[in-house]
């Protein structure tokens, strides 16, 4: 029993880090631009498929570097062409547009790479279990964990130490003032969107190595990411990270005791948080209204 619980605890942290990786990208875009990016799961799939196509030529590690960057470039283009005309309009419109885009990305990947699940080869050095006494841990899972943590740490460094990050944070607080101070808000939003999509692409590759690759790979990850953002606190990136890990652990532990409620438990958690603290665990006052 202890083994089972420990196993699921580790599992939960890894899945949670995953939700967080995806949710941070969503949260970045939502905070600065007020866009709920429904197509985030679609971009995730695109990143994974690009890596899959690239791997026979470049190997796993180089694909892991290049594919998210290419996904980010696609993100920059999408923001430039489709999202930019919608700023300043009712947020409903950008939500609907990305909803339609999600359909197109999913269908597009199905059209190009086929509907079947593709095997996603990770280096064999990563697939041997490190230990199987108290927990089942492969090098790949460690890598996933390390990369998720590194991406999150990198994001926090960018946000807190660079000029771009400072502007993104300032823009999240008050975009009008930032604009008046002479920052080019168009470019800022564009780069911010690209950064969010980069995180989606990275999450996609990591997910594909674990789950296999199919066009709907992003679908099961996007709702937990929403929940992570709401639980952790609207407008707070550390909160999003916390929310992701909390719901990951909660659903993983639930799968031990009550398997059919694995998905539902995170929503129960969200209901409890909203009941007690509507702005989320680490959310800022005033964001809710």
């Amino acid at each position: 029993m202890t083994q089972l619980i420990l196993f699921n605890l580790f599992n939960g942290v890894i899945i949670g880090a995953f939700y967080a990786l995806m949710a941070l990208g969503l949260s970045l875009i939502l905070n600065l631009s007020g866009v709920i990016n429904f197509a985030h799961g679609g971009f995730l799939a695109v990143g994974a498929y690009l890596a899959y196509t690239m791997m026979p030529y470049t190997g796993f590690w180089l694909a892991l570097v290049i594919a998210p960057l290419l996904t980010a470039v696609l993100g920059l283009a999408v923001e430039r062409v489709l999202i930019r005309p919608l700023y300043g309009r009712d947020p409903l419109y950008s939500l609907l547009l990305t909803f339609g885009l999600a359909f197109m990305l999913q269908d597009g990947t199905r059209y190009i790479w086929g509907p079947q699940t593709l095997p996603f080869q990770v280096p064999s050095a990563l697939t041997t279990p490190l230990s199987d006494t108290f927990f089942f841990l492969t090098g790949y899972r460690v890598l996933m964990m390390v990369l998720a943590v590194a991406a999150v740490a990198g994001l926090f460094l960018i946000l807190n130490r660079t000029r771009l990050g400072m502007r993104i944070r300032a823009g999240t607080a008050d975009l009008d003032t930032v604009s008046v101070l002479g920052v080019n808000v168009r470019i800022l939003r564009n780069l911010n969107f690209g950064l969010g999509i980069y995180l989606a692409g990275l999450a996609g590759i990591l997910a594909a190595g674990q789950l296999g690759l199919e066009p709907t790979i992003g679908d099961s990850l996007i709702m937990p990411s929403f929940v992570a953002i709401i639980v952790g606190g609207l407008g707070s990136l550390p909160g999003t990270l916390l929310g992701g890990i909390l719901i990951g652990v909660a659903s993983s532990l639930t799968s031990v005791f009550f398997p059919s409620a694995t998905e539902a438990v995170m929503y129960v958690m969200m209901a409890l948080v909203l009941l007690i603290r509507p702005r989320g665990l680490l959310g800022e006052e005033g964001r809710v209204q």
């Binding site: 409903l92 419109y93 939500l95 885009l101 999913q106 709401i230 998905e263 929503y267 909203l274």
Partner: protein
């Protein structure tokens, strides 16, 4: 067969589906267009209505009116509870919370195989004729009779919504939509009004859900999925969300286009996606909004 559906090359069940979807889109628009609050989780209450009527007829009693009543009650009660939880959120955050809660019901329907039929949906039941005492309405046997039954339900629901919007309550909702802060200063209990608007909107969407299940003799977990909510929103936006009848037109166009495209190509998702994007970029006011604007200028 209703005469108009022949003219555009459809069939009776498609006509019923348009009316049902129009009711759902108009219900959503009660909240979206008139209160200014976006719910992206209306499929949940639509689906609760559908499962409510299906499970009543299958497990409880073979009675269509009882099924409808239970379906509406279940949907409305769920909306009342969830509405109370999320009513303090605004804008995109409200939308996100409605989607996320909607998924709870999706997973229940999807996972609880023994009761809901899981992924395969709830089948093995049929709509039963309604005994009015003096006359039996044979909605089970005839598609056309059922169409008129749906149309009658639609008319009643729409008349109630119109009356509510004309009442002082409806005017208060408009005031909230136009300027929430000013309405608050005037002493309007904002949260209570948004909650009530949400519950009323969900009540009518669950009416649509019950009719939809009766139409298909089937309740499907995908009717609870957030992509279904997205369809309702696009119907409302496509027709024109600031007008009362806009969503009716939007639903008619959407259902017809979907039926047309999905019967012709496997890549219908791309076309529906492109349809969404084009509407958002080029028809933000909706069909009715465009026509009225032209008429005014």
């Amino acid at each position: 067969m209703p005469f108009w559906i022949n003219l555009i090359g459809g069939y009776t069940a498609l006509g019923s589906r348009i009316v049902v979807m129009a009711l759902a889109a108009m219900s959503l628009n009660f909240l979206l267009g008139y209160t200014g609050v976006l719910s992206f989780g209306h499929a949940a209450y639509f689906g609760l209505g559908a499962y409510g009527v299906g499970m009543t007829i299958k497990y409880l009693a073979p009675s269509t009116p009882l099924g409808i009543l239970i379906g509406i009650t279940v949907g409305t009660v769920a909306a009342a509870v969830i509405g109370a939880l999320i009513v303090r959120l605004r804008g995109v955050y409200f939308a996100m919370a409605t989607i996320a809660f909607g998924q709870v019901f999706y997973f229940i329907a999807f996972r609880w195989n023994s009761v809901t039929g899981g992924d395969d949906g709830l089948s093995g039941w049929r709509r039963v004729p309604i005994d009015l005492g003096f006359h039996t309405l044979n909605i089970g046997g005839s598609e056309t009779t059922f169409y008129y039954f749906v149309l009658a339900c639609f008319a009643v629901a729409v008349a109630i919504m119109a009356a509510l919007l004309r009442s002082p309550f409806g005017r208060t909702l408009l005031a909230i939509r136009e300027n929430e802060r000013r309405a608050r200063f005037l002493g309007v209990p904002i949260e209570f009004h948004i909650w009530l608007s949400f519950v009323i909107s969900c009540l009518f969407v669950s009416v649509a859900g019950t009719l939809y299940a009766l139409l298909n003799n089937f309740a499907d977990p995908h009717g609870l999925h957030w992509s279904q909510s997205g369809d309702f929103v696009i119907m409302a936006v496509l027709g024109g969300m600031r007008s009362f009848w806009g969503p009716l037109i939007g639903a008619a166009i959407f259902v017809f286009v979907q039926d047309f495209i999905s019967s012709r190509t496997d890549n219908w998702m791309s076309f529906i996606g492109l349809f969404f994007i084009l509407i958002v970029l080029f028809f933000p006011r909706g069909v009715l909004g465009m026509i009225r604007r032209k008429a005014n200028s």
